[in-house]
Every structure is written in C-alpha cells, then in structure tokens.
Subunit: 392 residues, 2 copies
Amino acid sequence: MKNFVYNTPTKVVFGKGVEEEVGRLVREFGGHKVLLHYGGGSVERSGLLGRIRKALEKEGVSRVELGGVVPNPRLSLIREGIELGRREGVDFVLAVGGGSVIDSSKAIGYGLADGGDVWDFYERKRKASTCAPIGAVLTIAAAGSEMSSSCVITNEEGWIKRGYTSELSRPRFAVMNPELTLTLPAYQTASGCVDILMHTMERYFYHSGGMELTDGIAEALLRTVMKNALVLRDDPACYEARAEVMWASSLSHNGLTGCGTDGGDWASHKMEHELSGLFDVAHGAGLSAIWGSWARYVYRNAPARFARFAQKVMGVSGGGTHEEMAEKGIEAMENFFRAIHMPTSLAELGVHPTEAQIRDMAEKCIRGVGGPVGVVRPLEVEDIMEIYKKAQ
Amino acid sequence: MKNFVYNTPTKVVFGKGVEEEVGRLVREFGGHKVLLHYGGGSVERSGLLGRIRKALEKEGVSRVELGGVVPNPRLSLIREGIELGRREGVDFVLAVGGGSVIDSSKAIGYGLADGGDVWDFYERKRKASTCAPIGAVLTIAAAGSEMSSSCVITNEEGWIKRGYTSELSRPRFAVMNPELTLTLPAYQTASGCVDILMHTMERYFYHSGGMELTDGIAEALLRTVMKNALVLRDDPACYEARAEVMWASSLSHNGLTGCGTDGGDWASHKMEHELSGLFDVAHGAGLSAIWGSWARYVYRNAPARFARFAQKVMGVSGGGTHEEMAEKGIEAMENFFRAIHMPTSLAELGVHPTEAQIRDMAEKCIRGVGGPVGVVRPLEVEDIMEIYKKAQ
C-alpha cells in the first residue's frame, strides 16, 4: 500500500431540480459576479440557461456570458474568457456543460487569477499559485471534471493538446441533476459510460501498492456503470440509471478509486489522447477502440490482476489459469463495449492511420511522458505502435 | 433515489510517517497558533506528541496544550479549552487522538469562534454560524469523526449526552498513519471495527430511496472491514489490515455510504447511546450487543433488504425465502461479532438493566428523536423495551 492524499473539497448537490440552488451556492462560495460559460445552443434551447440566469438573479449575483465551447476546448476562447472576465470584474466562473466546458472554465480560472499567459501552465513554464473559484452545473456524465483537479485544453497554434493538474482548480461546487442528461444522444451516453469505466480501470490496473477497500469500491463502481449503461441503451429516459452513471462519473475520477495505489496505468488514455489529437473522435469511443488491444498486449505482466478483474468485474466464473481467466475477462469487456455500440477497433471507430501516423502518435505518447508509458507493462515506441496496429 | 448533498472537504493525508506533515498542513489552512488537544498519557509516552510538537515548531506554528480528554468527552474540559484558547489567541484546534478528542476539539472550535455558551448548540437553543478550523491526527480507527460533521459531548451536570451536527466543524485535514494504531488493545480494535461497520449498516438499512452504487460501495466496505478485523484479531501488528480499517473508518461516516438514501435507520445507535449514557461501555461493544436483537425485531419489515445483506455482505448462499435468508444473515453477523470477541447480548457486555432502567432508556430514545425511532420499522417505547429485553 502506498501513502496517499485524498482531497475532494467539491460540494456536490445532486438530484432533481438542484440547478435552482446555483445562485445560493455561488454566494456561499463568495461569488458576486460570475462568468457564465457554456457550449452550444442546447443549454439555451432546453431552458437550462434560463433557469440558471433566474437562480443567479434571485440571489443578486450579476453575470457576463460566454458560450461557444467545443469538444477539446480551445485556447483562443479561453483567452477571450479571461479578457472578458478581467474587464467585467468577474470573481467566479460558472461552467454549464460537460467536461469540455468545465475544463475551459478551469483554464479561465487560472488566467483570471494570474497576471501572465495562461498557456505557460500547460507548457510547464510556470506553476499556478492561484485560481478563480469554479462552480459546475453538469450536463454530461463522462469526464469527471466536476470533482477532478485536472483539465485538458487545445492550443490551435499547432493543435497542441495539453493537460494541467492542480488542486487549485477543483470546483467549489458541482450541481448534478441527472434529468439534464435524459436527452443526450445514445452515442454520447455510451461514450460517456466508457470514459467513466476507463477512469477507474486505468487506476485499477496498477503495478504496486493497492488496498482491498479501493479495489472493492472500484469493482462495485465498474459493475454499476456497466449494468446501467445497458439499461440506458434500451431505456434512455430512465432517471435512476442516469443518476447511477452521473454519480459514478464523479467518484470514478475524484481520486477515490486510486487510494493506496501507485496511481495506475493510464497508457490507454495517453494513446487515445494522441488519437483524438490527430482524428476527430469521441474520447470514450477512442478508449474502447484501443483498450482490448492494450489489455492483450500487457496482461501477461499482471495475470493475477487481470484474472481478478475477469472474476469480480466481468463475472467470469473461476477455473483455468490466471492467463485463461484474463483473456476471458478482456473478451467479456470487449463484448460489453459492442453491446453498447462502442467500437473495439480503429476501423470501427472510422479511423485508418498510416504507418507514419502510427509512429508519430507513439512517439508523441513517449514524449508526453518523458519515457515509457504505463506501469503494468512500461511501453516503448515499438510497443505502442504494435498496440495501435493490433487495434486496427 | 433521494436528492443528496455530498460534502467532504477534509483533506486526508494517509500513510506511514504522515504526522511529520502536520505543521505544514496547519499553515496551509491558515493556522498560526494551535490548541493541541489530546487525551491520556499514551500519546506522550509513544513519542507521538513529541513528533507533532517538532513538526509544528519546524513550520513556526506556536501552541498551547490541553490534555485529559476522556471517552464521552466532558463539557467542563471543553469550557476550559475555549477559555484557554481565547486567552492565548489560538486560531486553530489540533486534535491528536480518536473520536472523543476530535469531538471535544469540534466543541472547542464552536466555542472559540462564538461569543456565547457552547452548550446552547447542543441544547438546540441556537445554531452555530462559525467554527474555528480543526485538524486531526487520528490514533484510533472507529468513530469517523475525522471526516464527519458531527460531534457528541457529555454535560456532567445531569450527565446529559448530546450531539451537534454542522458542516462548519468538518476537520480541514486529517492526518492518518495506521502505524499509530498498531499497539491498540485488542478489545478497542474490535470495538472500533464494530463502530465502523455500524456507521455503514445504519445507512444500509434504509427505508426509501437508495442507489446501486451506494449499496455496492457499502457492501465492499463492510466485507473489507470484517475480513481485516479477523486479520487483526490474529495479527494485531499487520500494517495493511490497520490501514484498511482506518480508511474504512473515514469512508464509513463521511456520507459516502448514504448517498441517495433517506439517511438510514440509526435505531441501534440511539439505543446504544442511552445504554452507554447509563452504563460505562465501549460504543462498539454496546452496538454489537444490541444489533442482533434489533435486526430480528425489524427484518420482517424489509425482508428483501436483509436477504441482500445476507448474500452480498455475509456471503450466505442463495436459496430459501427472503425471511430465511435474512435470519441466516443476522446469525452470520452475530457469529462474526463473536469471532472478534465482541458481545452479542447485554449480559456478555456485563450490563444487567432493571425493568425501570429499560423503560427509562426507551423513553429517552423516543424523546431524543421526538417520535418513533428508526425507519426500517419505526419503534415506539414498547418496541424499544422489547429489543433491549431480547438483547439481555
């Protein structure tokens, strides 16, 4: 078991109608004037923005607004948000959306509280010492950014996708009403479920340390998400299933499922980041397309761990060697991905990288980490290329 | 499923040697002068207090000290702490101990930040609007006060035991080194394990609402604590088992295992509070002495729930009616209590209440709640008396 820090200060307000409380929550955390930050028109059309404006007005919280966040949120809009926020004397950033909007808000938060160029943090030129307070009204269960310390943004100059992690950016509060996700397209719902599963699976496949309690919680979370992803495939309007998945999205990425481990593997995430950097794919779908290939390439380095996964998470009955169990578990997870109409190969994802592109992505993975990728089996360029190829 | 608020701002620093970080943590949360609050001489003799003094000095944090906290912490010492803290200009309360010391520290925190009489809050005369910041160095895994919003203290004038709950008192940080619990007496270790189990079991036996994810996490926690309580019975010096139990103590009572439910039953806790108010018994031991009697009295109101408990937590194999499964599950839990040398009756607890005492305790239970006790089967005075009697 490794020493760990568990820090989840985000106050979660969860359930039907809780967006009505957003004005009170901004006040509770010291906000007087918010930058209301969101994505496309759906939050306007659904009436959500209207309800939020009203909730803010009711508590005397003034605001400026900035919409237009896109998946893989852009630095140019973040810079616009920082400038707008400074000019208008904003003291709180309120994100209304999914992971992209929250990540964009975190970047604006860093920029608002800091004098210099916000991209410096993502370039590792400086460390942030402060961040404007963030609040989130979650509309997509997937990324877990509503309780996490990380954010990923894209600089259009060179299309560089970079993450930055600091405790400073954890949202002060997260307002989570599962009803807001009832009308999400099926593909986005399923892709979100894969993202949630993977945030815990990346942590679950660790190399050293570990705790039984963490393993048990992780396994319960994975089983719950799989079960409810199938419910939502057949009945997208099921509130209870939406709620299970939404709460799992937060617990999957707030640190809980990694307590006492070495932090987990994360190779699949790194390979997917390069993939979605080069091709325009949904993050969860990219992960399901790669995972099986990764798992088959590395499981012989941790056969007991993969056998446990097969048994406790995938319900594979005992018998056979660890290796045999592991293979059955990997197959069962791929079957689950197929069952919720998620791709299990790059071809199904609609992506056909050339040899040169594969090498380029693999080299970027290594460069991003500064050495071998992952802990179950530390991967070099040739290993990563092989995994991409086997995923074709 | 019910709406819920999940608020766990306590920063947990967990593992070997983490008490060395206490000075840095006090500074991080704005403290300059602490009231170092503790119980008996064991923390002095073990060298823990010495290490903490050094860690504080290293960071330039000054201090005053107040020891002498006893189980069921006393109002008189709390008043002394408030007076001392005010006189000395203390801006942070640092608890070094178990639940009693942390609860005493919370009460001092309320008193320090407030001008009036601290007992007012426990008498429900006023609501606290502020509390001095608290930090905890945990030495006993049991009460979960290190991440909870509640505290229970005893007023020696009339020996009135009262609790007060407010988000204001959640510790800013909790320093948890499982090594500090390696030398606890076996009885205290086992009693702590029962307390941890019961904090989740009280929530697990709810009447309405509920989430699969919460159930799954609760079940994983209960199985982990039982398994490691048996390990510690045979090998008290096992660090890994101490760590599992310590982390479970926090997660069991920080709200996680109750998300989406109606809050749970809590009748066993209320009956035990009256018991330990009248007789001097360890809280966990009092709970194990009562629980089976409570469970047998109420399970017919929730047979499916008790059957699930039997199967998922106690490992009772399927077959038979819900009622039959429920009975087997209750018996299995009592057998577990016996296996870790915890009492399953009042006689084994060494307590022999008279009819008048039983009535008195039952009436106090009702008065404390202002109506029937518990949600699985709301209990009136006669019901509670029957449960006490069947526990004899």
